[in-house]
């Protein structure tokens, strides 16, 4: 394989990895703050895509308006999942809420996707303009849409990171993420924060869905693969870290997946993704730290300085 092929694979990895970063950042926020395994992420993803596509074909209008409608639908769906399904179930399930919420999310997703098939059929739909300009630079090619998708993903991830880091709302979210009991004691409305987190996470999900629909197509199962990547990236990046860390994890995952094509056929790309996750879980940072410490051997202790 030539250098230009490797460069092309790297660019492809950055493009795909940026999308995985966007998926993972939203998922990690929701999972990290609320503890909900929000599998219905796939449904939110699909709903957004269909709203944009259906409105475009039936009503027309400027694409930014359609995108706004899709994002609004994504936010509403995500918030509805939390308010109407997860919260009541979690209240009743107590410590087993993770399992019951996951089962409920799975069921809601299956039912919701099939409802979409019932209403709109199983065939694919397109979204947005039909042509994207191809650019060639230093032997690599990418479309304007792909470049835009990378920029949008990182702007959104950066905005989320800034929101959590520099705003009072962000401090409240982080407080709930770290210690919900204490946050509640000092007057942070946990339930309200959860709704906001679902809204923000769903907004990122919707953005990812619109980019996906523009790059590929809108299909009833379009959310199935992104939710898997969202989950993997959230685990790799950690659900309690900055969205930028999750984003970096997504980017690295995309690069590894793409560059593995140097040696492997594309039929093994899914294997690569889960191998990365498996290796990470086996060598988690805590394990890695103790492994490195053992490699170093016992370190001499410094004598205390005499006062």
């Amino acid at each position: 394989m030539t250098f230009s092929s490797v460069l092309q694979l790297s660019v492809d990895g950055i493009i795909n990895g940026s999308q995985y970063a966007l998926y993972g950042a939203g998922f990690a926020l929701i999972l990290g703050v609320t503890g909900r395994f929000h599998y219905a992420y796939a449904l939110v993803f699909t709903v957004c895509g269909y709203v944009v596509s259906v409105l475009q074909s039936s009503a027309g209008g400027a694409f930014p308006l359609l995108a706004a409608a899709g994002l609004a639908a994504a936010v509403l769906t995500g918030v509805a999942c939390e308010a109407g399904i997860y919260r009541p179930l979690a209240r009743r399930s107590g410590q087993l809420s993770l399992l019951t919420v996951f089962v409920a999310a799975l069921g809601v997703t299956i039912a919701g996707v099939n409802l979409i098939v019932l209403l709109f059929g199983g065939q694919s739909r397109t979204m947005g303009s039909t042509a994207s300009q191809v650019n060639h630079l230093a032997g690599v090619s990418f479309t304007t849409l792909e470049l835009g998708s990378v920029l949008i993903a990182w702007v959104l991830i950066g905005a989320l990171a800034a929101l959590l880091r520099f705003t009072q709302f962000g401090r409240m979210v982080r407080a709930v993420r770290v210690n919900p009991d204490m946050a509640a004691i000092i007057g942070v409305g946990i339930e309200r924060i959860y709704l906001w987190v679902f809204a923000i996470g769903s907004l990122l999900t919707g953005a990812g869905a619109i980019i996906y629909g523009l790059r590929f197509a809108v299909t009833p199962d379009m959310g199935t693969v992104p939710v898997v990547f969202a989950f993997v990236v959230a685990f790799l990046g950690g659900t309690r870290n900055s969205p930028l860390v999750a984003g970096l994890a997504g980017l690295l995952l995309g690069l590894v997946q793409s560059l593995s094509g140097i040696w492997l056929s594309s039929q093994w790309s899914a294997l690569v993704v889960f191998t990365v996750l498996f290796v990470y879980l086996c060598l988690k940072p805590a394990s890695l730290h103790s492994f490195v410490a053992r490699l170093r051997g016992p370190q001499p202790t410094r004598p205390a300085r005499a006062e």
């Binding site: 092309q8 694979l9 107590g94 098939v117 594309s266």
Partner: protein, 448 residues
């Protein structure tokens, strides 16, 4: 201490009673269990994946006349279940819609003509999901279905054991028998072997139009152990024209990002590319292919309007070699009758999958008539198969001429078609233009 809602464990967690846990799990289970119910009610634009169709205003006496059936020989007065295992969901759902349209139109015509009342039992193979295929044939077999139309080569072979177990005569006009479904009990392919029968069309076309093509890259959908057969047969086809294989890549069904495949392809520096991809995959491939700045000749084994849509104009660089039914160029009376009724019923031109399932359903009706004429039970897969073996020829939408209906003959050894008109076509926008025709094995290859 104030309690959160249990989303995060808190120090004084509410004890969970068994009743509450079961209730919570039950809610999720009900949501999941309702999905098949919704799926069974699924409908799609341009046709329904379940339910029935009208006759499209077609004259049934005309149909009887075209098929040469007397009013007393329609095998009417009976109801019979007919299974249909189609890709109703997943990346191949386009096929399920158009196949279902052709099938339902035929059932409506048969019923209106005084034939049996075929009770359709749709099952979803989820675009090649093996477990879905196994479940489908089990459902049909348990329901006593003895006649079935399938797709995806009996869901990539997953249905074969069930078909043999239940002795369910199955006709597959979607995937045919391919390489691995030949001579399987009760399973018959009603179209050319895909992709093998299409290779020679591509090879002969390049040989005739572009003699510089010597090294060809093959991209095919991943079929596991079948990949080796697909590759070997392609090499054999290439060798007939002195061409060689530049490289081979298998991609999972439903792939939408072919960047890695394109990189491998570029590294192999082929003169041309042949793609055997189904559903939307070939549209995505062509999109990435053109975006990568490549302009090599590409011939594929499939064409769908769904893939055309997602290709973003890249299909202008695409050609395909396959069974081809051009609804605007009607040849025989049955095809003209079919197209007129289809357009009236569904408001769109039929493609070759709709045509295949229309004629396959008529073929099933033919078998029912033969069995009934001999006093046998038509709702018996063995009887139906014996009738097929006794005379493996059926009326066809393909072939024929302006006054004669075409015929479809089956090979008793391979369980696949013995002859089939095939074509090489190119895409210009949304239009498809035939550039060559040929028969199985590349015989009678003619440039247009």
């Amino acid at each position: 201490m104030t309690k959160s809602d249990g989303g995060r464990p808190i120090s004084a967690a509410t004890p969970v009673s068994r009743r509450n846990l079961l209730r919570a799990a039950g809610l999720g289970g009900i949501a999941a269990a309702s999905a098949p119910l919704l799926a069974a009610c699924g409908s799609s634009a341009g046709g329904t994946s379940s339910g029935s169709a009208g006759t499209g205003g077609a004259s049934v006496s005309e149909l009887l006349s075209i098929l040469g059936i007397s009013k007393s020989g329609t095998a009417g007065g009976m109801s019979m279940p007919l299974g249909a295992v189609l890709p109703l969901t997943g990346p191949g759902s386009y096929y399920g819609t158009v196949q279902g349209n052709g099938l339902k139109l035929a059932v409506a015509h048969i019923r209106a003509a005084g034939g049996p009342d075929f009770q359709l039992n749709f099952q979803d193979n989820q675009s090649g999901n093996a477990q879905a295929g196994v479940n489908a044939v089990r459902q049909l077999g348990s329901a006593g279905v003895q006649a079935c139309l399938s797709s995806y080569v009996g869901d990539i072979g997953a249905m074969f054991p069930g078909i043999a177990q239940y002795k369910m005569l199955t006709l597959d006009g979607g995937g045919g028998t391919s390489d691995f479904g030949q001579d399987k009990p009760y399973f018959w392919g009603m179209k050319a072997i895909e992709p093998d029968d299409y290779y020679m069309g591509a090879v002969k076309y390049w040989q005739a139009k572009d003699p510089n093509v010597k090294r060809v890259y093959l991209v095919a959908l991943d079929q596991g152990r079948i990949n080796a057969i697909v590759r070997a047969n392609f090499v054999k086809a290439l060798s007939t024209a002195g061409m060689t294989l530049a490289g081979f890549e298998a991609t999972p069904i439903g792939t939408n990002d072919f960047s890695t495949t394109i990189s491998h392809l570029k590294a192999a520096s082929p003169d041309a590319v042949f793609i055997f991809l189904t559903g939307l995959d070939s549209g995505y491939f062509m999109k990435d292919f053109v975006a990568a700045g490549l302009s090599l000749p590409v011939i594929g084994a499939e064409y769908t309007t769904d893939a055309l849509k997602v290709s973003d104009g890249a299909y202008n660089h695409f050609m395909f070699s396959t069974d081809w039914f051009d609804p605007t160029k009607q040849v025989n009376p049955l095809s003209r009758y079919f197209v007129k009724a289809y357009v009236k019923e569904y408001g769109q031109q039929p493609d070759y999958y709709a045509a295949n399932y229309y004629e396959d359903t008529l073929a099933m009706w033919d078998l029912v008539r033969r069995v009934k004429a001999k006093g046998g039970d038509p709702n018996n897969g063995t009887n139906l198969q014996n009738a097929l073996i006794a005379m493996p020829v059926f009326k066809s939408i393909y072939g024929g001429d302006s006054t004669t209906v075409g015929t479809l003959a089956l090979n008793l050894k391979t369980h696949s078609v013995a002859s089939r008109p095939l074509a090489v076509c190119k895409c210009v926008g949304a239009k498809v233009i035939e550039v060559a025709t040929y028969q199985l094995g590349g015989a009678d290859f003619k440039l247009i």
